[in-house]
Amino acid sequence: MRFKLERFAVKDIVFLAIMAALLFLCSAVAMPLMTITLFGLRNLATAIFYGLFATIALMKVRKPGAMSLLGFFNAAILIMMSPVMFVTTASSAILAEIVSIALFKTYENNKAVTASACLMMPFSLPFTAVFSVIMNGVSFAEVLNFSWLVCLTCVGTIVLSFLGGFLGRKIGKELKKAGKLK
């Protein structure tokens, strides 16, 4: 399979933007977790939603660049509250897309869709760590303070992200049967 750039239609952009708004609403569950300084906890809380909805979004818009656009639109809402979240979300989405496209070349394969959607949250972990160090003026050792808990949140983020992706594929198949997805 060869890498092919496809032009986005208006309906693709509209769908990705609305999915970004939905992702933003789901990510609000992480707001109360701001009180806990444990690294990766907020990523863990939102991983399942990002995996799920990003998978459905990519199942509908199977074009290279869709994941980056989804991440960018989601980040555009987050910029109103925190520019840090803008950078983290947008960068992790772009990185996830680059890895997925490098591996699979196209989104025609369902594995590529799942990989791209599920890698976004795990990829946001290093960005979160870097920004915690820069913004809070603490060292990496302090950020990764409770080592086994940090391992748990990191592994949990990856597991929940892929679980979300699996659920997303399942729902996507149902929507396909209902004629809502291609």
Partner: protein, 220 residues
């Protein structure tokens, strides 16, 4: 979002830049004694540029929220200083967001279009920002329907599938509506109905922000 808009919003890129600069500046001094003065100066700056009412509303929301966060932080970590710092950070997030919150989403889109930003980005950003309350209402409606039918924990079948169906329907109607209005994301020349311009007021606001941050840097 419309309820917290001001009569005379600032230039979109100025709002964005000041939100980032004030947040970064505030985070740098959040652990120091100069922080209350910084917050006071930012409030004064906002009041001078017509954002006073929104700042007051922001405080009405974020002071209780920051207290709750501080309490949780104190209960979890048993450290008063950390709890106060947590409250400061939460308050700062709210305060730095004031210029962006008061900015009409359409102004940001117009500004991006004027600056030659690709139309897919401008359109996507506008829809993403404007549709948060709409999607929120849809989610609430699905929750109410679940409650009416006494559906308990079946999140997958009773919640996610209907929400996704609604989202897809809304996006299809919206794209159809855009296409029937001859909207395209091609390279056709476009015009902006109301141009967003950088005015003297925006320049003064920028200078004030720079002076405030310079003063903060000296104080730290």
């Amino acid at each position: 979002m419309d309820r917290i808009q001001v009569k005379n919003p600032l230039y979109p890129l100025v709002c964005l830049g000041s939100a980032i600069a004030l947040l970064v500046g505030g985070l740098m001094c959040a652990k120091q004694t100069v922080f209350p003065f910084f917050v006071l100066m930012v409030c004064l700056l906002y009041a001078l540029f017509g954002l006073g009412k929104v700042t007051a509303k922001c405080f009405m929301v974020f002071i209780p929220v920051s207290i709750v966060f501080a309490l949780f932080s104190f209960l979890l970590q048993r450290d008063l200083v950390t709890a106060v710092q947590m409250a400061c950070r939460v308050l700062l997030i709210g305060l730095s967001a004031v210029p962006m919150v008061t900015l009409p989403a359409v102004n940001l889109t117009r500004c991006l279009t004027q600056l030659g930003c690709p139309r897919i980005i401008a359109l996507g950003m506008l829809i993403a920002i404007r549709f948060v309350p709409v999607i929120g209402d849809e989610v609430r409606r699905v929750c109410e329907a679940m409650r009416t039918r006494s559906v308990g924990m079946s999140v997958y079948r009773a919640f996610i599938v209907p929400v996704m169906m609604r989202v897809i329907n809304i996006s299809e109607t919206m794209s159809l509506s855009l296409e029937t209005r001859a909207f395209s994301i091609g390279d056709e020349p476009t015009s902006v109905s109301e141009r967003v311009t950088f005015r003297l007021r925006d320049g003064l606001y920028c200078v004030s922000c720079v002076l405030l941050l310079a003063g903060l840097a000296v104080a730290i």
